[in-house]
Amino acid sequence: MCNQSVGLIASVIEKAGIPTVALSLLREISEKVKPPRTLFVPFPMGYPLGRLGDPDLQTQIVIAGLNLLKESEALPLIKDFSL
């Protein structure tokens, strides 16, 4: 249910006027909750930032999310993070 909770919290904050981006581990749930900006990450539950011992990958995911944060057209957006 984390993916629903993240999407709902993002939506409430966005409504308050602050742009948000949410990572998602379950695309099907994010497609239902529809927060403004979602970066779908292809990793197992519990590993939204990728892999243990791979800070470079964590940084790549963070930067991809921040790039999505700049988007304000055609929301809601779901982008796929690719390795």
Binding site: C2, V12, I13
Partner: protein, 160 residues
């Protein structure tokens, strides 16, 4: 990649029957400054909390909608994890909290000048909430008000 079909049978059955909620955020917000000047806050739903803070209530029916403030200078590896969902494999996060709360990575981006600053506080929820009424009506708006008060420019959210 995580898919609903990878979940345990009990989780799969629950997800198939569950009526997922959404919240009308339209028309959406825009970054009011360049990302290199922006102040960013993080939110995790991995139920992280500091040693001195009460843990999340793992027994509460429908889920614990409360939140914890995490100061920006916190040692992320010392944060506790009080999550109840068996769908959240904590093996990795117990060794590196950045897998669910990448504060160290954000600190590096500030040092590199790729973002302006981090807010002085971040927030943690326990995401396993099946009855999110209070989350939508009370606790998420409370966090939103704090972030507005803090003049945060953008928020990065991480599930577990």
């Amino acid at each position: 990649m995580a898919q609903i079909n990878d979940l345990t049978l009990a989780h799969r059955l629950f997800v198939k029957a569950y009526r997922f909620r959404s919240y009308d955020w339209a028309p959406g917000a825009s970054l009011r400054t360049d990302i290199r000047q922006a102040k960013i806050a993080l939110i995790t739903t991995a139920a992280l909390h500091q040693l001195g803070q009460p843990a999340f209530d793992e027994q509460l029916q429908g889920g614990d909608c409360s939140f914890r403030e995490l100061p920006s200078d916190v040692d992320v590896q010392k944060l506790k994890i009080a999550h109840r969902s068996s769908a959240f494999d904590q093996t990795g996060a117990l060794q590196d909290r950045n897998l669910v709360f990448p504060l160290d990575r954000f600190r590096e981006l500030v040092s590199r000048g790729l973002i302006g600053a981090l807010n002085h506080r971040h927030f943690s929820f326990m995401g396993s909430i099946t009855a999110p009424g209070k989350l939508i009506a009370e606790t998420a708006p409370a966090v939103a008000r704090l972030l507005v008060d803090d003049q945060v420019d953008g928020v990065f959210l991480v599930p577990a």
